[in-house]
């Protein structure tokens, strides 16, 4: 197996420079920098309320940063008009912590929705094939006609992932993908995330506190502290760190 080139030589799909976001006097992000390279899973670790979810919402422009640069797949996200932003968002995926399934639609309709609205699949057969592929990928092909209220938390999270996958995104943003799940389902989610990376070559930013995610799915981990990147490295590098703050995270995890 060929060694991967050093990260500095690989194409970056997400580049954040000096990202700032404030809510009134509450300065959540104070100049956060991050690079995500193609095919890489980068995890952002931080305390609760440190701004991790806010960070990935800035990447997809659900929130407007106060300052800084957000570049995704070579495009300046902050400079895009609405139509161009929608076209870029189609190339990205976002898995919400709550899954955010449309509760008035069945699982099938949830998955068909982005295809129909973006005119991706032009025939019913093609739409059906993509829905089947996405559901098979998350192991929930039998849930087509079910409504979100009939699904367990873990199933909702996996359907949310299927809805993200169906558009074959290049970049996926995960907001606490394993929070609230039992250990077995958490492991299954991690395997799904790795499977996406392996089979589709997706790059991702993962917001999580989960040790399993850090250890198994993250190629690099960035530590968010007081609105900035405190340090970054692989799981093993950070685990071996003698920095007191880093040690506190890994001991508590």
């Amino acid at each position: 197996m060929m060694a991967r080139p050093p990260s500095t030589e690989r194409e970056h799909v997400v580049r954040l420079r000096g990202l700032q976001l404030s809510f009134g006097d509450n300065h959540v992000l104070r100049g956060f920098d991050l690079d995500v390279h193609r095919g890489e899973n980068v995890m952002v670790l931080g305390r609760s309320g440190s701004g991790k979810s806010v960070l990935i919402k800035c990447v997809v422009r659900l929130l407007e940063p106060t300052a800084g640069q957000v570049e995704v797949i070579g495009q300046d996200v902050r400079a895009l008009d609405d139509e161009a932003l929608d076209r870029l968002r189609v190339r990205m995926g976002f898995l919400f912590q709550s899954s955010a399934l449309y509760d008035g639609m069945t699982v099938q309709e949830n998955l068909e929705f982005p295809l129909r609205r973006n005119w991706v699949a032009t025939t019913p057969e093609e739409t059906d094939a993509r829905v089947e592929e996405a559901l098979q990928a998350v192991g929930l092909a039998h849930t087509r006609r079910m409504y979100p209220a009939e699904l367990s938390g873990g199933m909702k999270r996996r359907i949310g992932l299927a809805r993200t996958l169906i558009m074959k995104p290049e970049v996926v943003l995960y907001d606490e993908p394993t929070t609230g799940l039992d250990p077995i389902t958490s492991l299954e989610m991690v395997e799904l995330i790795l499977g996406l990376q392996r089979n589709y070559g997706t790059s991702s930013i993962i917001i999580s506190h989960d040790l399993n995610v850090a250890k198994r799915a993250a190629d690099r981990i960035a530590l968010l502290h007081e609105g900035r990147k405190y340090t970054e490295g692989t799981y093993d590098e950070l685990r071996a760190s003698t920095d007191p703050l880093v040690q506190r995270f890994f001991v508590m995890m």
Partner: protein
């Protein structure tokens, strides 16, 4: 009294927010990528499924007004004017306003609650990041559905109310349907029907805009959703009366009254 300026400031902010929301609706109302399937679904949900409630209410209104008005007209020997009086009152004012108030309650609260629930559970955010403009898909279609269906509901309610009036008339006298119908047609003019019909489009616009606005800006949590639904009804109903007040002044100036 000390709280009054804050209340006024809050009301002005709310009015400004709704005006901004309305402006956004008009900018997106004719977008090429229109969600026709969602518009049709909303017309069924908001229009067709309101028929029963509107119909029953219209029947009761027609019957009650007829029965209540008869003694007064009889005192002046004008009982024969009953069909005309009821028809003109119903068509000009009572049916459009009462139907709009019912729809503000039923449709407005439903929109406020639905969109509020979608907001607090991040479904609107999910729609946005999937490359769909949620304002166009959710708000524009809903507002168009109330604009299009409310006039139809009012016309149907007019017919039902006049039919109920015939039933009311026949509780004390015997008047054939053809005679009653002729008296109604003879009494109604375009100046009775047209201004009332036009204002139902405004009622529909206001009910849709207010219902969607309260849900779109719902605060987090279940309390926020509840407040959105409640506000949609109260504000929608109030604006129906304000539009009616303005409309009657305009029609008076134009000589329709």
């Amino acid at each position: 009294m000390a709280g009054l300026p804050i209340a006024i400031e809050r009301s002005l902010r709310e009015a400004g927010s709704i005006a901004h929301f309305a402006g956004r609706f008009f900018r997106n109302a004719f977008h090429p990528r229109f969600a026709w399937d969602e518009l049709l679904r909303q017309c069924v949900v908001n229009g067709y499924r309101s028929l029963a409630l509107v119909g029953i209410t219209a029947f009761i209104m027609g019957l009650v007004l007829t029965v209540q008005s008869r003694p007064t007209l009889a005192r002046f020997g004008a009982e024969s004017m009953l069909p005309a009086m009821v028809a003109v009152s119903m068509v000009r004012e009572i049916v459009p306003v009462i139907t709009a108030l019912i729809c503000a309650g039923k449709i407005g609260s439903s929109m406020g609650a639905e969109l509020g629930s979608m907001r607090v559970t991040e479904q609107i955010d999910a729609m946005e990041v999937s490359g769909t403009n949620p304002f166009r898909y959710l708000v524009v279609t809903r507002v168009w559905s109330t604009i299009l269906t409310l006039p139809i509901l009012v016309v149907l309610a007019d017919v039902i109310a006049i039919g109920a009036s015939w039933v009311g008339v026949n509780m004390r006298a015997t008047v054939s349907w053809s005679l009653f119908q002729q008296q109604v047609i003879d009494s109604l003019a375009y100046s009775d029907f047209l201004p009332a019909f036009i204002k139902t489009y405004l009622f529909g616009l206001v009910i849709g805009l207010v219902g969607c606005h309260t849900g779109w800006h719902a605060a987090k949590g279940t309390a926020g959703v509840g407040r959105a639904a409640h506000k949609a009804v109260v504000l929608g109903s109030l604006l129906v009366f304000i539009i009616d007040l303005v409309a009657v002044q305009v029609t008076d100036l134009m000589g329709f009254n």
